[in-house]
Symmetry: C2
Subunit: 358 residues, 2 copies
């Protein structure tokens, strides 16, 4: 068994909050979908074939210089909780948390670059970084891609580019995404209009936290929809331009909110901080909303609030698997709510919170 | 102009929180309705007649030893804000805040005993004290009553007792009431059943704060409904017995709440404290609810929460006229909400609250 516990105990590098525009952009991600020429797609291949492919890629992953300090593991060997932990750190996809025996993961020591094996495609290269840095993240993924290509022959045609299991990825096989915080656009109810506009230029925006369609915490993931017809660089340039445009709108919405409803904004931010510091039970989705509100205060120049790094760290560690790993045991939702509140108050160094005698 | 400003700046004695059972009973009140024999009731008399009566009672009030340090004033001479201030301190009734020229007030220096003149009846004697002390409060009112009777002849018959403008007060003319805090009975949804039962034994319970029928802050006023057929002492004994019974039920409900839903109760209490300490805007009714929740924590043994005296003081000073008096100017509701939050945080000595740069 791989010592996931030790490996993923601390904060994640890509959520460190110290990247460019880190107070408004949580992270940038690029993933490249690749398939091995002459091997059937994951959905069609037989298990022995896929296991053999998995082991070959896991071995190869350990030798790649662009994946320093890598660990390689068959995902099926991991405990359910460990898989959940990796999912919460965005290191594997939801598809990869299942019990399938064929799946694998290679993870660089700093968790910034990883390879998923036999998820939807044979190989998915993922790179993550804190803040807004599309080029750097693309380069990190590309380095792994080039090293892999020296050993593997990827399925591609001159007309289409890379071939993938799902037609929506054919071409570059690249999905680049930026995780942005847009509290003022939500507050001023402009977000719907903007989401619609973004869709029209071939990009996708969706709420990041929260089940289903409900947006929690004003976090949005903006990514390219198309992989055909534009080169990687053109795609990144377009995504970058749109993100910058949205940030300008967000800036204007913030100015308007402060001008027209300053006290209400301050009240929302400060109440959120009060609840984080004092509550005894914090639900998973509620804490995302509260952390979002406090982050908004930070962006607006509120003094004496937790730093973006601390807020990001809490966003990560308040998730169910992280809480249970920290507690060293499985917990019911109610137990997690209590443990989550304690964790938040420990991290925020709340010293004066009243307590009942035990 | 009477210097109401100086007189009513500080905390009120009857809300000091140091009375018997002060954590659960805010205050006890007794008022006696009296009318002058041979003078028509207020609703029927002519203005000159009432003004003459008023001046006579105001003069008399200043000489009564049971009203030490008294101030006497025609209420119509007071500024609207001062009348509102007296109403918020429960020193005059809502009826007495109008512009009528005939009304008067005599107020003991400690605000515990007062005379209202030409409200519904010619004279209403009121005594207030912190906590649960029906006998002491009745005695304080009775002393004033006896001294007044030495100079005034009160309308009464041997069969009916004291005659009053409204038939519901005929007899003793006494209304005794106890202001209790019943958070656990509200939480466990038993309060409705109890209110119904109390009505059946000739007592009245009504929510104390909040407009209309909505109960705010779990404060209830329990008082006698009947003034005929029972002596003052019998009435007080009955009221006392019922209040004690209700407090026992409240105790049991608290035990149940702590046994079955301890974390939820703690969470409610602590969140309320967090919002009081951090919010930037506090509405009038909201603050009553929050103070009620924190008081509940105090009753349950929460360490490191504001004392009952502080909570009572805030209950008083967060009211609109008190806020405006403290600010020295009239304020809109929104301005009051901001000022209220500042006041609460000053009183609670919140030092670490984040602030926006001005």
């Amino acid at each position: 068994m791989i010592p996931i516990l030790d490996m993923v105990q601390g904060p994640v590098r890509w959520l460190a909050g110290d990247g460019p525009m880190g107070d408004r952009i949580l992270s940038t991600r690029v993933r490249l979908a690749r398939n091995i020429r002459g091997t059937r797609f994951v959905g069609r291949a037989l298990e022995p074939e896929l296991i053999s492919l998995r082991d070959r890629v896991l071995d190869l992953g350990l030798s790649i210089s662009a994946l320093p300090g890598a660990n390689a593991m068959p995902v099926g060997d991991l405990a359910v909780m460990d898989r959940q932990l990796l999912l919460e750190r965005h290191l594997i996809s939801h598809d990869l948390t299942g019990d399938s025996a064929v799946r694998g993961l290679v993870l660089a020591g700093d968790e910034k670059v990883s390879l998923m094996v036999n998820e939807e495609d044979h190989v998915r290269i993922q790179a993550l970084a804190p803040g807004f840095q599309l080029e750097a993240v693309f380069e990190a993924a590309q380095k792994v891609d080039l090293e892999l290509e020296a050993h593997l022959s990827f399925a591609a045609t001159p007309e289409l580019g890379y071939l993938t299991a799902c037609p929506t990825n054919v071409g570059t096989g690249m999905r680049a995404s930026v995780l942005v915080h847009l509290p003022a656009l939500v507050l001023t109810q402009q977000i719907k209009k903007i989401l619609a506009g973004v869709n029209q230029v071939g990009l996708t925006v969706r709420g990041f936290y929260g089940e289903g369609s409900e947006v929690v915490g004003n976090f949005f993931q903006i990514s390219n929809q198309t992989t055909l017809g534009l080169s990687e660089t053109e795609t990144l340039t377009k995504l970058s331009r749109v993100v910058n445009q949205i940030l300008e709108w967000e800036d204007r919405a913030q100015e308007n909110a402060l001008r027209d409803a300053r006290l209400q904004v301050e009240d929302t931010v400060l109440r959120a901080l009060g609840v984080l510091k004092y509550s005894r039970l914090l639900r998973s989705e509620e804490v995302v909303g509260l952390l979002s509100a406090v982050r908004f205060g930070h962006t607006l120049g509120l003094r004496n609030v937790p730093s973006v790094s601390v807020l990001n760290d809490l966003l990560l560690r308040c998730q169910p698997a992280h809480l249970q790993r920290a507690a060293g045991r499985e917990m019911t939702a109610e137990e997690r709510n209590a443990y989550r509140a304690e964790l938040v108050q420990k991290v925020l160094e709340v010293r004066d919170a009243p307590r009942f005698d035990p």
